[in-house]
Symmetry: none
Subunit: 244 residues, 4 copies
DNA sequence: GATGAATGAGTCTTCATTCAT
DNA sequence: GATGAATGAAGACTCATTCAT
C-alpha cells in the first residue's frame, strides 16, 4: 500500500527548487536525458497544477472531478496519478505554490529596513497582488479540511504565520510610532480580511487591475492606522510576487 | 442497531413546552392542537437548520452528511425529508435565515435619519455581529454553486444587493461630506471583506465577544474614511437583529 | 406480526358480494347504522380503487405512488391503509374488479345455447368492451409479478382459465362445424392478443367508441375462422358487463 | 467480500476469441490492438444488453436491479457505467436493438415488389419472428415512460411508424384488390395486437417454434382480409432479420 | 508513461409502511 | 377513522483510486 516514500512538504519550495535545479543542465553530462526527463516531468506536474487550480476555483474542489482536470489536459484520469498520489495532494500543491509567493515577499520585506508602517504597506500591496492570482486565491478559497491531516496542519501553521507577520509589523509600527496605537490582533484581522476577500471576488479580465487594487488597498487599509505625521508617505511594494 | 428508542429533538426546549400544552389544549381554543402541531413542525424545521448549519460550518457542506445531521437530532435521515426536499434546500434555508437578519437591520438603518458615515458605521456594526452567528457565517461560508440554479441566483442577487448598500452609504457619505472622497466600489470591497472574513475566523467561545468585534470594526474600518470633522462620533448600531 | 387474519381472494367477488349484501338493508334492523357504516366503507374502498386504477394505468404501477393516489382522493396516505393492507393489494383488487366482469359475461355466454362460433363472437365482443374500461385494461396492463405470490397465482390461474375458454369455444365450433378446422391454441392466442392489445392502445375520448371496436373486432377476428355458410351471422353480446 | 476474483463475461464467446488475438497482433497491423480493444468494448456492451434484456423480461424493469445485471456478468455495478450512462439508457438500447430488426425487415419488404397482401403477410411473418426474440419482445414489454423524455419520444415515433406501415400495406392491398375493403386502422390494430401479444406469452423452449408461430400467424391473421381470388398465396418472409 | 476497465465506498433520495395521537 | 411523523429498506449513481496491459 504505502511502498512509496512519503514526500513531505518542508515549508518551502519543492517545486520552486526544482526549477532552479536547471543549473546542472548546462553541462553535457551523460545523464542529460535523465535530467531532461525530469524537467519534462516537472513541467507536466506544473501544467496539471495550473489546470487544477483553475478548475478548483471555477467549480469548487468537490464539484471538480479529476476526470475534468484530465480532460482539459488532454490526458486521462489515471495519468494524473503519475504525478500526484491523490486529489487532495493536488489541492495541497496548488496551495503550496501560492504560499511560496507569500513566503518570498515576506522574506523580502523582512529584509527591507523599513519601519512598521512601511513594512505593513509593503505587505498589503504584495499580498493584494498575490490574491489576484490563481495560486494566490487558492490560499483562501481552498479548505484545509479537504487535506490529509498532515498537510492540513501545514496549511494552518502557514496561515498562523502570516497572521503573526501582520501583527508583528503592526506592533513594530506602534513601537516605532509609525502606526497609531491600536489592537494589533484586530487590526490584523481587519486588514487580512479585506485582502483575503480579494481572492473571492477578483475576476481576471474585470475593470480592476491587480496593481490598481494593490495600490488602493495599500493606502486605504493603512491610512486609518498611520500616525498623523507620516500619513502621506506611500511605499512601493517589493516586486517579488512571482507570477511565472 | 436500534439503540435509538426515544426520539428526541435535543435542541428544542420550546418544542418540549409544546408537547406539554398538548393536553391542556382541550380547555381553550379548538384549533389549539392544530396550532400546536404547526408550531411543533416549525420548531423542528428550525432545529434541523440549527443542527445543519453547525455541521456544515464544522465540516463543510460536502463532507457533512445528512446522516450525521439526523444522528445529532436523534432521528433518521429520511425523517429530514419531512421538512426539506433536499440537502441543498437545507443549505439554502440556512443561508436564508442569515440573510433575513441582514435584510432586517438594513431596513432599520435605511429608515434611520443618519448621514452616510453614520449609516455605514451602523451597517458595519450590525454586519459584524451577524457574522459572528452561525446563520450569519453561512452567508459567506457556503457556496452558492451547491444550490439549485434558482436558489443560487437568489443568493447572488442578495449578495449584490448588500454590496450596493455598502456603496450607497459610502456615496451618500461622500455627498453629505461625512466621508472623505474615495472610490466607493473599492472601499466597499475593503470593508465588506474585513467583515466577511469574520465569518471565517470567529470562533464562539474565543476571547473576543461579538460585540467587541463589532465595536472595534465599526471604528477601525471607517476611521480612515471619516472626514476630519466627525472622525470621533461613534454610533450605536440598531439592535434590531435578533429574530426570535 | 401477522395478527391480522389473511383475507384471501376466493376467485369471485368479495367486493361484488358486498354490494349484494345490500339485501338485509331493506329491513329496519337496529344495526342499520352498522350496515350503513359498512356500506360507506365499501364506497370508499371503491373510490380508492377507481382512483388507483386510473393512476396505475396513467403512470404505471411503480411510478405511481400511494401519495398521489391519496392526494387525488383528498385524503392522506396512511388513510389508505384503513381499506387496504398494501399497495399490491390495491393492485390486486383492481385486477379483481376487471376479472369479475369477465367471469360474469363468460358465465352468461356459457349458459347461452349458441354454437361455437356464436359463443366465440359473443366472447370477443364482450371482452373487447371490457378492455376499453379501466378495470378491464388492468387485466392486461398490470404485472402479476408485482403481487404477492398467492395473488399472483390467482391471477395466473384466471388468465389460464380465460385462455381455455377461448380454446374451448373454438374447439366447440370446429366440432359443430361453425368454425373451420384450425389449431385452437394458436387461434386463441391470435384472437386474445388482438383483444388484449386494446387495453394498451384504447384511449377514452378517442374517435373510436368501445362498441364500435367491439363490433368490428367481433367480425374481423372471426371471419377468417368462420365456416363459409354462416360467415355473416353476427351475434349480440350479452350486455352483462357494466357494473355501475 | 472479494470472492469475485476472475472477472468473466460469461456470455462472450467472441470476446474470448478477441483476447486470444491480442498477442498475434504485433505481427500484423499496428492498430490491431486498438481495433481489438474497440471490438472487445462493443462485445461487452452487447453482453450487458443481452443480460439486461433477459433480466428485464424475467423480472420487469423496476424489480430488476443493476446489481443483479452486474452479478450475472460477474462484474460490479459501477462497471456498467463504463458502457451506459444510466439504467434507462440500457433499457433504451435494448429496445433499439429490437427496433433495428424491425427497421431492417421493413426496409426489405418495402423494396420487394409484392402487392399489398404479400407485403402484409411478409410483415406479419417477420414481425412474429422478431417478437419471439428477447430484443424483439422488449419492443412491447418495456414501458417508454421509464425512459428519458427524448428517448421516450423516439420510441413513440417508432411505434407510430410501425403502425403506419401496417396500415399502408393494408391500404395498398385494398387499392390493388389483394385485400378486401375494410378499415385499415382497426385491421392494423387487430393484427399488430396479435403479434405484439406474442412478446408477452412466447417462452423460449416451449412447444412452439418461432417459425411455426410466424407461419401460422401469417396465414391466420390475413386470411380474413384476403380477397377471394388470391387467398391461397403464401409468402416467404425476407430472411433479413438476424443481425449477428 | 499512459490507458481502459473495474472497483468499493459512500450519499442522496424515494416510498411503502407503521405508530402515536 | 384519520393524520403527521418517522422509519427502514433499497437502489441509482458518482468518483477517487487501482490494476493489468
Amino acid at each position: 500500500m504505502s511502498n512509496i516514500s512519503h514526500r513531505r512538504w518542508s515549508q518551502s519550495a519543492t517545486l520552486h527548487g526544482c526549477m532552479m535545479d536547471g543549473r546542472p543542465a548546462n553541462d553535457q553530462s551523460p545523464w542529460m536525458p535523465f535530467e531532461s526527463r525530469r524537467r519534462a516531468r516537472d513541467e507536466k506536474r506544473e501544467a496539471v497544477l495550473r489546470t487544477a487550480v483553475q478548475l478548483f476555483l471555477e467549480q469548487g474542489y468537490h464539484r471538480a472531478t479529476l476526470n475534468e482536470v484530465a480532460e482539459r489536459l488532454n490526458i486521462t484520469k489515471p495519468a494524473l496519478y503519475n504525478y500526484f498520489r491523490s486529489k487532495d495532494e493536488i489541492l495541497f500543491e496548488c496551495w503550496a505554490l501560492g504560499q511560496e509567493q507569500v513566503d518570498e515577499f515576506i522574506a523580502v520585506i523582512n529584509r527591507s529596513g523599513q519601519n512598521g508602517l512601511g513594512k505593513l504597506r509593503a505587505l498589503v500591496r504584495a499580498y493584494a497582488g498575490t490574491m489576484a492570482t490563481d495560486f494566490g486565491a487558492s490560499l483562501v478559497r481552498f479548505d484545509p479540511r479537504d487535506l490529509k491531516p498532515h498537510n492540513a496542519q501545514t496549511v494552518r501553521d502557514a496561515k498562523r504565520s502570516i497572521d503573526r507577520t501582520f501583527r508583528r509589523y503592526i506592533a513594530e509600527g506602534i513601537a516605532d510610532k509609525s502606526i497609531k496605537p491600536c489592537d494589533p490582533k484586530l487590526a490584523a484581522f481587519a486588514i487580512a480580511g479585506s485582502l483575503n476577500w480579494i481572492g473571492h471576488w477578483y475576476q481576471r479580465g474585470g475593470p480592476l487591475t491587480p496593481d490598481a487594487i494593490a495600490d488602493e488597498f495599500a493606502v486605504r487599509l493603512t491610512e486609518g492606522l498611520a500616525a498623523p505625521s507620516i500619513k502621506k508617505s506611500v511605499v512601493k511594494a517589493p516586486t517579488a510576487t512571482k507570477k511565472k
